[in-house]
Symmetry: C2
Amino acid sequence: MDKCHLDNAKVFKAFCDETRLRVLELLRSGEKCACVLLEKVEIGQSTLSHHMKVLVDSGVISARKQGKWTYYSISADGSKNAARLLQELTAVTIASDNDENARCCE
Amino acid sequence: MDKCHLDNAKVFKAFCDETRLRVLELLRSGEKCACVLLEKVEIGQSTLSHHMKVLVDSGVISARKQGKWTYYSISADGSKNAARLLQELTAVTIASDNDENARCCE
DNA sequence: ACCTCAAATCGAATATCTTCAATATAAATA
DNA sequence: TATTTATATTGAAGATATTCGATTTGAGGT
């Protein structure tokens, strides 16, 4: 497996967990401080921190530190990148009927 | 966690694993029989079967049985659905600066 | 009916992910 | 500087995923 696939998989990890989808949903209405997210999602503080790391690593969420607080928001660039990737991964290159790879051992 | 998030997570599971991304890449050039995929991806037969199930469950890949063989291909509908979902999950609803939820305990 | 071959399912081993409690770090405040 | 507060990190437990070998199922062919 090459590095490329690993990186691509990382982007979509953001959307693979229910808790992260819940956080994402909360952030749709705008930037939120971690403490607000913690109040709304029923998980421990360290668990939230872990999920935020996964989200930030995917590029879909960006973090902004201000004093003691960390503010999270949906990244427009990261989201666009994920959408572009999804498009690429599912784009059929040639739709010809006589694709030699299609047939197998018959 | 509600059923909705679980179902959404399932769609993106397709893109969360390197092996599945490799299979997806192979299918971009058109429909392929499982035996062809098995030749090209270095995994056991039962492992491939498992991954194909995850891919089909996500809706991104569709399966067609013909005689002894199963042919897999990228589903245009499933891909569109995934793209739409991604869009929805990352769409910021209101971008107003005075979002009351943004500020926290200060 | 028997045999062959493609694919699915089962059961077990291993690896990865999720979660929490405890601790560490880092910023603000007394 | 000591204390409080927000978040990150660590370490360990439990849950879920991945993988494989063995077996089963199902469609053809002999």
